[in-house]
């Protein structure tokens, strides 16, 4: 790190002497400490622990449940990400993978089980049927689990390959750690092109762009020092 700073050895020696005397103040001291220590807050450490030890709830509803089971098996091992301990009790689980079509008879049951889970909890809607009703646009299937419960990750596919579900699971891990993946609108600089944003005129309005940017801005940034 000292090499990147381009300082000479003599300058570093002078700064070390200043710190030991108590002469480094404010910004200088912070920079000095940040360079030399792995600073972390408790929250970051906890989130790292949570992300790498998520306990999914056994919730196989239909065909996607079989692919979820095969994700647990040795070929598409989910144990390398720490989530092979599927808990049957919602009180012990962190994450619910809604694998399969949610029928109208099952929806209250799903909601009840979700409510019994303890915070923090996350939801992966696996497959097309739980994301949006899938191919079944009829009286018996709820058109998307996010009609009655908040969903964090949607994994497309019918059924999604286990690798696709693992990809979604990795995204969830990044979300849990506090550094969620950028959505495609940020990546392609298309914020403000949402349907609601261009409803009236067909073009994104400046207020809409600003509102969207605020909505998707990351909560903590790596570059800002934590609430100094």
């Amino acid at each position: 790190m000292e090499i990147e700073r381009g300082d000479s050895f003599h300058a570093r020696q002078l700064r070390a002497r200043d710190m030991l005397r108590g002469d480094l103040e404010g910004r200088d001291l912070e920079e000095y400490v940040e360079e030399r220590l792995l600073t972390t807050t408790l929250e970051n450490a906890l989130n790292w622990g949570r992300a790498n030890a998520l306990f999914p709830l056994t919730f196989g509803l239909a065909c996607c449940g079989i692919e979820m089971m095969s994700m647990v098996t040795s070929r598409y091992d989910i144990a390398r990400f720490g989530a092979e301990a599927f808990r049957a009790s919602p009180r012990q689980a962190d994450m619910i993978i809604l694998s399969g079509r949610v029928s109208i008879k099952m929806a209250p049951v799903v909601r009840r089980v979700y409510d019994q889970m303890l915070e923090p909890k996350w939801v992966i809607a696996m497959g097309a049927c739980s994301s949006s009703g899938g191919m079944f646009a009829n009286y018996a299937v709820v058109q998307g689990a996010d009609k009655f419960m908040p969903v964090d990750i949607h994994v497309p596919g019918c059924p999604p390959r286990p690798e696709a579900l693992l990809h979604g699971f990795n995204k969830l891990q990044r979300l849990v750690r506090g550094k969620p993946d950028l959505g495609w609108r940020q990546r392609y600089n298309a914020v403000g092109t949402e349907e609601w944003a261009r409803f009236e005129t067909g073009e994104p309005t400046p207020e809409a762009i600003e509102r969207a940017a605020r909505a998707v801005a990351p909560k903590h940034s790596e570059t800002r020092p934590p609430d100094a």
């Binding site: 008879k105 009703g133 646009a137 009829n138 009286y139 058109q143 996010d146 349907e195 609601w196």
Partner: protein, 185 residues
């Protein structure tokens, strides 16, 4: 399958026991069908099961169908199988819709078509008759426990009738996003 003359003999045998049961016989696509009067269904099934030489003791499937707009509207199909001779026979009971002409939709307390339950002849019919009741509203008289099996218990309406809407939501495209309510509204 019994061929056409064999089927005629069967129809004759059933009619001997109780006249006016068999309305029609037909053989098509390799399948033999007996169309019977709904009042004589139990007699026909019992005859087919118990008579020497017939022995259709296995009920493969009991399902209902809705022939709207043809009348009679409903039919209950009994797929019988004789395992010794590996022969299948279909018995079809045509049921008129008692609520026809009232202009009622398939919700609410309209009168329901009825037929006798064959659970004491073929215990396998228990779940399958419940399914026919659940989806078409056909009441099976004498069924021990007739209630909905696949739909929620308090559901109103008979989903697989032809005039029941298929449900679901309209797919959101650009051309209809003005009218369709969006998720954030």
């Amino acid at each position: 399958m019994p061929d056409a003359p064999g089927l005629e003999l069967i129809a004759q045998g059933i009619d001997d026991g109780r006249a006016g049961t068999v309305i029609e016989t037909s053989v098509e696509h390799g399948k033999a069908t007996l169309i019977v009067n709904p009042d004589g269904v139990l007699h026909a099934l019992r005859w087919l099961r118990d008579t020497e030489g017939q022995g259709y003791r296995f009920l493969s499937s009991l399902h209902a169908a809705d022939y709207l707009p043809a009348t009679p509207r409903f039919a209950v199909h009994y797929e019988l199988l004789c395992r010794e001779r590996v022969e299948r026979l279909n018995v079809k009971a045509l049921l008129p819709d008692p609520a026809a002409g009232n202009g009622s939709s398939p919700f609410g307390d309209e009168p329901l078509p009825e037929v006798d339950s064959c659970v004491e002849l073929f215990p396998t019919a228990e779940f399958q008759e419940r399914e026919a009741y659940d989806f078409f509203g056909i009441v099976f008289r004498g069924h021990p426990d007739l209630r909905r099996i696949l739909m929620p218990e308090d559901y109103v309406g008979w989903p697989q009738r032809r005039d029941f809407p298929i449900g679901g939501e309209p797919v959101l495209f650009t051309h209809n996003e003005i009218e369709a309510p969006r998720w954030f509204e």
